[in-house]
Symmetry: C2
Subunit: 412 residues, 2 copies
C-alpha cells in the first residue's frame, strides 16, 4: 500500500473507528450456508451521514428508501442493514421490502426507522424473500460486536473473491481519529458513481454539509475512476457515517482539519478502489492508468477512464501483449480536447518502465523486456498529454476467459 | 435476409453494378500466402464519391490521404486500393506510405493520383512495408475483372471469418440500377462512424452532394448502430462510389429517385451491418436490439446501442441466460430522457417471443422456454419506451471466450 505522511494503516475496517459495531451471517438468501448474505453496521451514537448513489435511471429500491431516510433526518443515521444475493431492484414490491428491512433493524436496535440505511446487492428482478431476514434479524443484532467488521465485509460479497477493508488513523490537533471502510463489487462496475457498495465509518466530528462535500469530491477521483466492465450498476452506493466519538472539535469549515479528514477519506477510498479493480470479475491483473500534464482534471480523468475501459487493451494485458496501439486508439476516442500528436505513453510495472509511444508515434522496444514488464500482476499505463500540469488516475483490470465464464451464467 | 418491395438481392458485391472491376491477392504483408492482403476496386468511369470516417482523434494515415484526395477532386474518384494486416497508423512515415500506395495504383491505371481512395486495416503502429505493394501492383491491376469482387472482399479481411458482400438491383423510372458493397470488420468496432472498412459501388447517376447526404443519413441508422466491443477504430471508413453507367437521369434533387436510391443504400448497408455484428470477434450469436415507441430517433438509437454494448448482457447471451435485469440496467444508464417505469422488454428469436419485463418490473416466465428462445443464433431484444412512435435498431454480438483468446495475442 502507498504510504501517506501522517496517516497510519490500521486493522478493523468499519469497526476501526470508535463506537461502531458490526456483524454478518447467512440468513438463507444464499443457499450456500458457508456464505454470509446479511450484514449490519451500527454506531453507538447518531452520525452525520453522507451518501452518493448510482446515476442509473434504474435505481434499486434500497437506494430510493435510503435517500428518503437521509432526507427525512437531514443526513443523520445510526445503522446500516445490507444483504447480498438479491438486488431488490425492478420488483413491484421492492420499496415495501426495503422499508421493511429498515423497520426490522430499527425495532431490534430501538432507533427510528429513518436512521437506518438500507442496501442490497445481487441479481436484479428477483422478488426479495423477506422471511429469511425477519427470521434472523435478532441473531444479527445480538451478534453485533466492536470487532465484527470482517463478518460484515463478508456479508456484502457477491462474486468478490476477497473481502475488502481498509482503515487509517490520523491526528486532528491532539486527538487521534480513525476512518475505515468496507467495499464490495466485482462486475457491473463502471463510472459514474459509485460503482459498488461501500460503507465508511469514522469517529471524526464533522458537519453533515462538509461530510457530503468531502465524499462527493473524493468519489470523483476514486470510485468514479474505476471501471471493470463498463456496466453502471443499479444499486451503487457509497455511504460515510461520522459519529464524532473521537472527541475532536467538530469540523464546520474548510480549514486544515477538513483537509486532513478529506485526505483520510481519499486514502481509504482510493485503496478500496484499487482492491475493487484488482478483484474485478475474472481479473488476473490490476491496470492503473495515470494521465499527467493534462490541461484540466476532467480531461485527465476522461482519457484515463477511456484506456481502462477498452476491451481490446484489457485483452492485450491479459495476453501480456504490449499492444500499445490499442492504448493510443482509446486515448484517441476519449471525448476530450487535446493534441494527439503530443501524446507520450509508457508501460510500467515492478519490472521497469517501457516507453512505447512518443509524440503520438510508435517507439521501437524489446519484445522480450515488454513481456517481462507485463508479466507482473499490477500494470501501469503512464500517459503524458503535454498540455498542462494536472494528473488523474483510473483503475481497471484485464478481460479474461473467467469474466466470460462468471457472467455467462450468473443467475444459476 | 429481410425482403424489401421493389429491391432484388443479386450476386456480385462491389462488381454487381455496371462498370466496376476488382481484384485481390497476397502480396506478402500477410506471411500466410493463402490469405489475400491487397485489394483494388476500379470504375470504368469517374464516380461521384462520398465517404464518412472514424471520429477517433487518432486517424490512420490512409484516412488523411483519402480525405485530401476527395477534397482536391470535389468528391470524384475512380479507384480504391486497400491492404489488410497493417493499419499504417501512428507511424511517422504513414502519410507518405499511403500517398505512395495511391501513386502506385494511379500510375498503373493511368489516372490522377487524387482519384484514388486509400485504406488500410490491421495492426496499429507497425511501419508499413511498401515493397510488397510496389512489387505486386502490376499483377493486381492486370488481374482486375468484372467478377473479381470476391477476391477484393477477401483481401480486406482481418479476423473476419466470412467475407461480407451484399448487392441489390432496383428500378429508377425504366432503368435498372444496381448497388453493392463489401465490408470488413470484426473487432475494434463501435459507434461512432464508421466502425469498419466498407466500400459500396453503384451505377446510379447521382450528384456528389446527394450521395454524401444519403451516406451520412444511412450511416447513422446502420453502421453507427453497430457495436462489437466498444472500441472505436482509427481506420474506419465507408466509401460509396457512383459511376452513373446505369443510364438514369442524374439524381440532383431529393425526389422519389433519391428516396429509392437511399433505400437501396440502406438495404445494403443494413445487411452488411448485420453481417459484421454476426461475425464479431469470437461471436456465436447476433444480438439485434430494436427500441420502439421512443420520443425521438436519438433516444431510440442511444438506448438500443447501450443494450448492445453491455458486456454483462453480452456474456448472458453467450450463456443463453435470460438475465433481463442486465438489459434494464443498460437501458437505465443510457444517456437519454424517458420514464424507466414505462419500459417493456421482450426477448425473441425464431423459437418465439418471451416477455420479460412490463412497466419496468419483472414478469414471471418459463426458464425452459427462455432457454429455447436463447438457443438460436439470432437473438432479438425488443424494447418499448411508450413515449412516442419512433424506432431504431442496433446490432451486436455475444461476448465469448474466443473474443478474449483472439485479442489476448492479436499481434502474433
Amino acid at each position: 500500500m502507498e504510504q501517506f505522511d501522517g496517516y497510519t494503516y490500521v486493522e478493523g475496517g468499519v469497526c476501526a473507528a470508535k463506537g461502531f459495531r458490526a456483524n454478518g451471517l447467512n440468513c438463507g438468501l444464499n443457499p450456500d450456508k458457508e456464505k454470509k448474505d446479511l450484514g449490519m453496521v451500527v454506531s453507538d451514537r447518531v452520525c452525520s451521514t453522507a451518501a452518493v448513489y448510482t446515476t442509473n435511471k434504474v435505481k434499486g429500491a434500497p437506494i430510493l428508501v435510503t435517500k428518503r431516510h437521509l432526507k427525512a433526518t437531514g443526513g443523520k443515521a445510526r445503522a446500516v442493514i445490507v444483504n447480498s444475493k438479491n438486488a431488490n431492484t425492478c420488483n413491484a414490491d421492492g420499496e415495501a421490502k426495503a422499508e421493511r428491512m429498515a423497520e426490522l433493524a430499527a425495532a431490534e436496535l430501538g432507533i427510528p426507522t429513518d436512521e437506518v440505511v438500507v442496501a442490497s446487492t445481487g441479481v436484479i428482478g428477483h422478488i426479495l424473500p423477506i422471511e429469511p431476514i425477519e427470521k434472523h434479524i435478532r441473531e444479527l443484532t445480538e451478534g453485533l460486536s466492536y470487532d465484527g467488521n470482517a463478518k460484515a465485509a463478508q456479508a456484502i460479497m457477491t462474486t468478490d473473491t476477497v473481502q475488502k477493508e481498509v482503515a487509517v488513523s490520523f491526528r486532528l490537533g491532539d486527538v487521534t481519529c480513525t476512518l475505515g471502510g468496507m467495499a464490495k463489487g466485482s462486475g457491473m462496475i463502471h463510472p459514474n458513481m459509485a460503482t459498488t457498495l461501500n460503507f465508511v465509518t469514522t469517529d471524526v466530528a464533522i458537519s453533515t454539509e462538509l461530510i457530503q462535500k468531502a465524499l462527493s469530491e473524493v468519489t470523483k477521483i476514486t470510485y468514479n475512476c474505476l471501471s471493470i466492465d463498463g456496466d453502471t450498476s443499479t444499486n451503487d452506493m457509497v455511504c460515510v457515517m461520522a459519529n464524532g466519538m473521537a472527541g475532536n472539535t467538530e469540523i464546520r469549515t474548510e480549514q486544515e482539519d477538513y483537509a486532513c479528514f478529506k485526505q483520510a477519506l481519499y486514502i481509504v477510498m482510493m485503496n478500496m478502489t484499487r482492491m475493487l479493480a484488482k478483484d474485478g470479475e475474472g481479473a488476473t491483473k490490476l491496470i492503473e492508468c495515470t494521465v499527467s500534464e493534462a490541461g484540466d482534471l476532467d480531461t485527465a480523468i476522461t482519457v484515463a477512464k477511456s484506456v481502462i475501459r477498452s476491451p481490446l487493451f484489457k485483452c492485450a494485458v491479459f495476453g501480456e501483449d504490449a499492444n500499445w496501439g490499442r492504448i493510443l486508439c482509446a486515448v484517441g476516442y476519449a471525448e476530450a480536447e487535446f493534441d494527439i500528436h503530443k501524446v507520450d505513453v509508457d508501460l510500467a510495472s515492478a519490472k521497469g518502465v517501457l516507453p512505447v509511444c512518443r509524440s503520438g508515434s510508435g517507439k521501437d522496444f524489446s519484445e522480450e523486456f515488454a513481456k517481462e514488464v507485463l508479466s507482473e500482476d499490477e500494470i501501469q499505463v503512464r500517459i503524458s498529454l503535454h498540455e498542462g500540469d494536472v494528473s488523474a488516475t483510473a483503475w481497471g483490470c484485464d478481460l479474461t476467459y473467467d469474466y466470460v465464464r462468471i457472467n455467462g451464467d450468473y443467475r444459476s
